[in-house]
């Protein structure tokens, strides 16, 4: 099952370049499936693709386990991943300050050049103080760090107001802005910092897996103009394979 190399292909007679009026080539399902079945795929390349996804999306634990289970190296400068993941983990456990310090150690420009990100980190810090019930510290922090920024930017002011509303309720779960206390809020802040660090390192922010799917959408569209073949519906393919099987 050697792959068809180009030099081999050139020895077989290709179909002539078709004009638009000519009939479309038709590939039957059996024929197409047989071609797919003969197509070898290199597993270590697929592992790299998966690792890239885990690393860029910051699935720290999964990436570590994946490296152990299949030996695929993370593929990106290791210290930068661990720093990035450490900032994510720090925010996820509520330690915003150490995430800020880490980001500053990596590159002070990350926060200097992203006032919005910096505001969101400070806001997260305030949320954590409120969560911990440290009202006095929360108020002092809000007054010193957040209020001046709120004056500069109406969007920041609105967000500050929402956050301060947390103080108005004894039972936080009844508070209309309770979502700020959800893990998703931490996740959101962590992702924003994650993307900013990636940008500062001139690394891709986007994993490669979505690009592969986009390319598949594109190639299918191109071939549709010239041929009939079994198309893959990206959404349905997912549904099919996630169906519970007996």
């Amino acid at each position: 099952m050697q792959p068809i190399s180009f030099s081999l292909i050139t020895t077989i007679q290709p179909p002539p370049r078709m004009s638009n009026e000519e009939k479309k080539t038709v590939f039957t399902e059996d024929e197409w499936e047989a071609q797919l079945a003969d197509m070898p795929v290199n597993k270590s390349e697929m592992n790299k693709l998966i690792m890239n996804y885990l690393v860029i999306e910051g699935y720290k634990e999964a990436a570590e386990k994946f490296q152990q289970e299949c030996g695929t190296p993370p593929g990106i400068d290791l210290p930068s991943i661990s720093d990035r993941m450490a900032t994510r983990v720090a925010i996820q456990r509520g330690d915003v300050q150490s995430a800020i310090e880490r980001a500053n150690d990596l590159n002070p420009l990350i926060l200097d050049e992203n006032p919005q990100l910096f505001f969101h980190l400070q806001q997260q810090k305030l949320i954590e103080l409120i969560r911990n019930g440290d009202i006095e510290a929360a108020l002092a922090f809000a007054e010193k760090e957040l209020a001046p920024r709120g004056e500069e930017n109406p969007q920041f002011l609105t967000e500050l107001e929402r956050t301060m509303a947390l103080l108005a309720f004894e039972d936080k779960s009844k508070c209309p802005v309770a979502d700020l206390l959800e893990p998703a809020q931490r996740q959101k802040t962590a992702s924003e910092l994650n993307a900013a660090i990636l940008t500062s390192q001139c690394q891709e922010k986007e994993p490669k897996l979505p690009s592969l799917l986009k390319m598949l959408l594109w190639t299918q569209e191109q071939l549709k103009e010239k041929a009939q073949f079994p198309e893959m519906d990206i959404e349905k393919a997912i549904l099919r394979s996630s169906k519970p099987s007996s």
């Binding site: 290709p14 002539p16 690009s211």
Partner: protein
């Protein structure tokens, strides 16, 4: 669909069409493609045998001189290259003609024509011929009756280039390194570079890419490529981001990366799918782990207990396991008698065509005959190991490596899935195969854009 047979050879590149190294140019000899293609046929010189009488071809087909009277239309003379422009696998084709001497009248035409065009006419005047003329700056598309205004006149010392852009299927000309814009659209067929003259003492020299071009075709090629990549990246994915997480999770579970799958499912919030597939994965993984650690006996007895139909119905898998056991015996230094005796007892049957045939016929679920492994060849490779004191140094030493166990484990995994009527390939693998197969067909059909992208550019 029949089960894919994992290659017994060292891992093949993921991508069918090998990507040319990223630092090499996109255009070589006027042909633009990202694929490491070797074209056996491409225009590299004008043909001394494929020209009209008044032309003389010299300098290895790169210089053409007109020596006719050049007065009347019947004195026109054209020439074609030896080989046509490749009909597939390319995105752009480009060549340049330098006007060394425009001659008396300056009647010179540069363009493309097919094999059937008579060469006693100026290019562009016949069916299947397309050209830009120097004496009047007109374009001629398959007729000499009326040309269309296009560019400036050209003559001595001008360099005229011609590019067939198969991405948009347009032809444009260049003059002294500058594009003159679209000239022809929707050309079809197998075309040759052509030049024609009707001008006494006219002389041109051709550049088919062996020297640098006046026009920056490389830059143009990159623009075309960026345009295509942008179009791909612009494709919107379905809003539901779980397509990505599910693809990843299914891949991890399909291949039995159980701890990664557990950690990922938790963090990605897909624990439901994980729980549903978990038991099946762990049972498969238990068998595969035994193969990976070289304990083939345990793997076989596991299979017999848990997935009896696999060994019964999948001759290839049985063969792979029994052979692997033989390899493990050789590698672990089991006594020679035991090893040889095992080989006679378990493996010799696979040399027996009658046995294989009857085993096939007795079970419909067996893979088709043409997809059977080449048992005898594999056995020959495996037995060669016996001839070496250190089997790893044998010419077939790769069989003693961990990678071989991985191949066997992958086959076992697929066979178990197949026996349960599940997809034998992970979703990710199917995405990749679909994409590669389409790219292959696009290339063979002469689709220009497909020659400028490979999955490697994105992955």
């Amino acid at each position: 669909m029949r089960p894919p047979i994992h290659s017994l050879h060292p891992p093949l590149p993921l991508y069918r069409f090998k990507r040319r190294s990223t630092d090499s140019p996109l255009c070589v000899n006027g042909i633009c493609t990202v694929h490491a293609a070797r074209f056996h046929m491409q225009p590299l010189a004008f043909s001394d045998d494929d020209k009209a009488d008044h032309l003389q071809c010299s300098h290895a087909g790169l210089v053409v001189t007109y020596n006719g009277p050049g007065r009347e239309e019947k004195d026109a003379a054209s020439i074609r290259t030896h080989q046509p422009i490749p009909t597939y696998g390319i995105a752009l084709y480009y060549f340049e003609i330098s006007i060394v001497d425009q001659g008396d009248t300056g009647r010179i035409g540069v363009g493309l024509c097919d094999r059937k065009v008579r060469l006693g006419k100026m290019p562009g005047w016949e069916t299947g011929s397309y050209a830009y003329h120097g004496d009047d700056g007109l374009l001629f598309r398959q007729t000499g009756i009326a040309g269309n205004p296009y560019g400036p006149k050209y003559g001595t010392d001008d360099i005229i280039g011609c590019c067939w852009n198969l991405v948009d299927n347009i032809v444009f000309f260049t003059r002294n390194g500058k594009s003159l814009g679209p000239a022809f659209t929707n050309l079809t067929g197998t075309l040759y570079p052509t030049v024609g003259m009707q001008s006494m003492n006219g002389r041109i020299s051709a550049n088919f890419g062996t020297k640098p071009f006046a026009f920056d075709i490389e830059r143009y090629a990159h623009q075309q490529r960026d345009k295509i990549l942008a179009a791909i990246m612009f494709k919107p994915l379905p809003q539901d981001y779980t397509i990505l997480t599910d693809t990843v999770l299914m891949y991890l579970m399909h291949n039995g990366y159980s701890r990664t799958a557990a950690a990922f499912a938790k963090d990605a919030g897909r624990e439901q799918i994980y729980q549903r597939e978990r038991d099946s994965m762990l049972r498969r993984q238990a068998v595969c782990d035994k193969v990976l650690s070289g304990d083939i006996d345990a793997a076989i007895s596991d299979l017999e207990k848990q997935f009896p139909q696999v060994l019964r119905s999948q001759l290839n898998v049985r063969f792979l396991l029994l052979t692997q056991k033989f390899i493990e015996m050789i590698v672990s230094g089991a006594s020679l008698e035991d090893t040889v005796e095992y080989g006679r007892r378990e493996l010799s049957v696979f040399r027996d065509k009658e046995y294989i045939k009857s085993a096939q016929e007795s079970d419909d679920s067996l893979p088709r005959a043409d997809k059977m492994l080449p048992y005898a060849d594999v056995l020959r490779d495996v037995y060669l190991l016996l001839a070496y004191g250190n089997p790893a140094e044998s010419p077939t030493g790769h069989l003693t490596k961990q990678s071989r166990r991985e191949v066997v484990a992958d086959n076992v995994n697929s066979a178990i899935l197949a026996s349960q009527g599940r997809p034998m390939r992970s979703l990710l693998e199917r995405f990749i195969c679909q994409n590669e197969n389409i790219l292959k067909h696009l290339m063979l059909m002469g689709n220009g854009p497909a020659a400028l992208v490979s999955a490697q550019d994105l992955l």
